[in-house]
């Protein structure tokens, strides 16, 4: 079990956990956190793939991808949280449940 494989498995596991959070937890914040955990999981896979290069400096391409990924996921999270706050101020709902009754 090399170091890379450990982190790869960790990535896969966290992806599923993040998906669990997104699917099961009704609170919108939990869902956003779930999304971030899934993002982190993917980045784990990418960076551990980068580590396969022998020698000190790993492959830079996945690193750039991860950096871009992090910025993008921050942007997305920022917008989602803003939307959650607006929904709360507008309707006081903190989950999507409200919508299902009167969908």
């Amino acid at each position: 079990m090399t170091q890379i494989e450990i982190y790869l498995l960790a990535g896969a596991a966290m992806f599923c956990i993040g998906l669990y959070g997104l699917v099961v937890r009704p609170h919108l914040l939990h869902k956003v956190m779930g999304l971030n955990v899934m993002a982190v999981a993917v980045f784990l896979v990418l960076v551990s793939v980068a580590r396969r290069v022998p020698g000190p400096t790993p492959d830079a391409l996945p690193h750039a991808m991860v950096l871009t990924g992090i910025v993008v996921s921050v942007a997305a999270t920022a917008y989602s949280l803003a939307l959650i706050k607006r929904i709360y101020t507008e309707t006081g709902a903190v989950t999507l449940q409200e919508t299902d009754d009167d969908a």
Partner: protein, 99 residues
């Protein structure tokens, strides 16, 4: 060939997985967010282990820092504010602290 360094990696991975499971099994919102920030820090530690300093720095600053701050701000927003416009009035505060 379990060199000592490997043990550290296994430890980090186990912590990461436990943390993420704990985030989603935690009832209280505030506690989940705090755990999430902790997860962010450990992940940046993982990046350091995987020889990705740039990412570690960004993760710490953006992933843990900014996202964590935003989440905390939202939790605060959800708890402290009464709802002027909605017809649902929420008696007690946003997070129920159950055992």
């Amino acid at each position: 060939m379990n060199s000592p360094v490997l043990w550290l990696d296994i430890l980090v991975v186990v912590i990461l997985i436990l943390l993420s499971i704990r985030i989603f099994s935690e009832a209280s919102l505030f506690k989940s967010v705090v755990l999430f920030i902790a997860l962010g820090l450990f992940v940046s530690f993982a990046w350091v282990k995987l020889a990705a300093p740039d990412i570690a720095l960004t993760e710490a600053a953006l992933g843990a820092g900014v996202t964590g701050a935003l989440l905390l701000d939202t939790v605060g927003h959800l708890r402290s504010r009464n709802v002027p416009y909605s017809k649902h009035r929420h008696a007690e505060d946003g997070t129920s602290s159950n055992a």
